[in-house]
């Protein structure tokens, strides 16, 4: 009894081996992230300051800060989410709460899944054709934001549907059983219990919209543009703008003799924005779990 046999020793050895391999892979996954962030911050350190954030690029982008592209990216992300969030969330509510299983809803769901997989360069071409040319918006912040909105929409729909589906069906049935309409059920039970999950999905799209280069390059972002420094309303909706992603590409590859710290500083700001936004999403999710009511 309770003596280790050759078989149990083999079992323990394989258990140890398996666990070690899984741990190794986890470390391998974390390592690049730490290396990237560490290396970027190390290289960018001399240039990082508030002044770097708040001044325009100067001297053919070989000096100065990143104010113009930073504000441009903020404009693009905020406007695109203002457009995509209501459409995506409400469409997902329809698909998850109202739609019956017909050929029409199957087509819509299929379209959502496929749209989420379309490469961003294709969205860029669509935005160029539809918003810049056909709708006559020209290359502008609005056209670029609309293109980003189209790109983020299917993912917002998918994540919202997932958040709604996490609310148990029994809650809905209990509401219908006492004579509540579908809308009353959604308003009082389904949405309050899925709003955190919905918000998390939307916020995660911030990082995607901020990081994309192709869709905005074709539709509203320019190589260089100086704006009033320190003025949050320096861009108008029909102006062209700069963007961090495009700016990073430009100063890394297109402009000769850029000081080394400049592209690294830009990358740190872009990465920092994305990480901060993702951290916010995680915080919301943690709050959702702790406040979970069932």
């Amino acid at each position: 009894m309770f003596q280790a046999t050759p078989f149990t020793r083999r079992k323990q050895a394989s258990e140890l081996l398996a666990k070690s391999i899984f741990l190794l892979m986890t470390l391998l996954m974390v390592l690049p992230l730490i290396l990237i962030v560490g290396y970027l911050v190390y290289q960018a350190w001399p240039i990082l300051s508030l002044d770097f954030l708040l001044t325009n690029p100067r001297h053919g982008m070989r000096a100065g800060g990143i104010w113009s592209p930073l504000l441009g990216t903020i404009y693009l992300v905020v406007i695109s989410l203002i457009i995509a969030t209501p459409i995506g969330v409400l469409a997902a509510v329809f698909l998850n709460e109202y739609a019956r299983d017909t050929w029409f809803t199957r087509m819509v769901n299929l379209a959502v899944v496929n749209l989420a997989g379309v490469p961003s360069i294709v969205h860029a071409l669509f935005g160029l054709g539809a918003f810049v040319l056909a709708a006559g918006l020209g290359k502008s912040i609005l056209a670029a934001s609309l293109t980003l909105a189209i790109m983020t929409l299917p993912v917002i729909i998918a994540s919202t549907k997932e958040a709604l589906a996490a609310v148990p069906m029994a809650f809905r049935e209990a509401c219908w059983n006492v004579g509540a309409s579908r809308w009353q059920t959604i308003r009082h039970v389904v949405l309050p219990n899925s709003i955190s999950g919905i918000l998390t999905g939307v916020i995660l799209q911030v990082s995607r919209a901020a990081g994309e280069t192709a869709p905005v390059m074709f539709t509203g972002v320019v190589f260089f543009k100086a704006i009033r420094e320190g003025d949050l309303f320096a861009y108008g909706p029909f102006d062209q703008c700069m963007a961090l992603s495009m700016h990073l590409f430009t100063i890394s590859t297109q402009v000769p003799d850029v000081p080394k710290a400049l592209p690294y500083g830009t990358a740190v700001v872009l990465l920092g924005t994305v990480l901060a936004v993702n951290a916010l999403a995680i915080l919301i999710r943690v709050r959702l779990r702790s406040r979970r009511k069932w």
């Binding site: 809650f171 209990a174 006492v178 009353q184 009082h188």
Partner: protein
Amino acid sequence: MTPGPMVELADLRVRYGQREALKGVTFEMRRNEVFGIIGPSQSGKTTLLKVINRTLDRVPGVMISGTVMVDGVNIHRMKDVYSLRRKVGMVAPLPVGLPLSIFDNVAFAPRMAGIRDKADLEARVERCLRQAALWDEVKDRLDSLGTRLSGGQQQRLTIARALSHDPEVLCLDEFSIAVDPVTTMRIEDVLKELRSRMTIILVTNLVQQARRLADRTAFFLNGELVETGPSEVIFSDAPANRKTYEYVNGIFG
């Protein structure tokens, strides 16, 4: 008002795609009686309840035919399905506390029916919680979450919610499946109190429970109504159908 039957079913058939769940049943439930429905699983008992409050209508692939009259009105001709559902209270097998406070759980149905007056709501909540024998246990913590109650308490909360919209028919679908025996007996006492005020449809797997409570009982088997009659006859040594006797006495089922 004519004291006709509360619920009348005529040749009710329900199909889920190819599978026939109810194969043409015809019977009636009278006012202010406890009507027991017994039968093994897959015999169509739950389907029957969902037809009566029309929550089955939207289930994909369901075909319903025949007529169902509640209080003398054909339910499939009703324009206002919400008032039908307020008339027919429903208690599901597993207790469902909504993720709201205990007070809001019971005030939910009245609020959804447009009642805003605070005093009115408070009076209703207290009355329904008392009727469901839950008031004394929760009166000091009406603000805490309904989902944090124990299973037996949640089932009584579910009953209180079903009573909150003043139903004339109360359907209970195997309410004791997730409830301990003591709570089961408490709820049975509650039902004995309520029987003078409303029609109670009691679907149960516990043959003894139907025998204790039901005035009349129907025995369902594979979507067919085998027989219906006074409980004394159904649970006697000589019901009309031999299968009823065998099921009630545990020879099959």
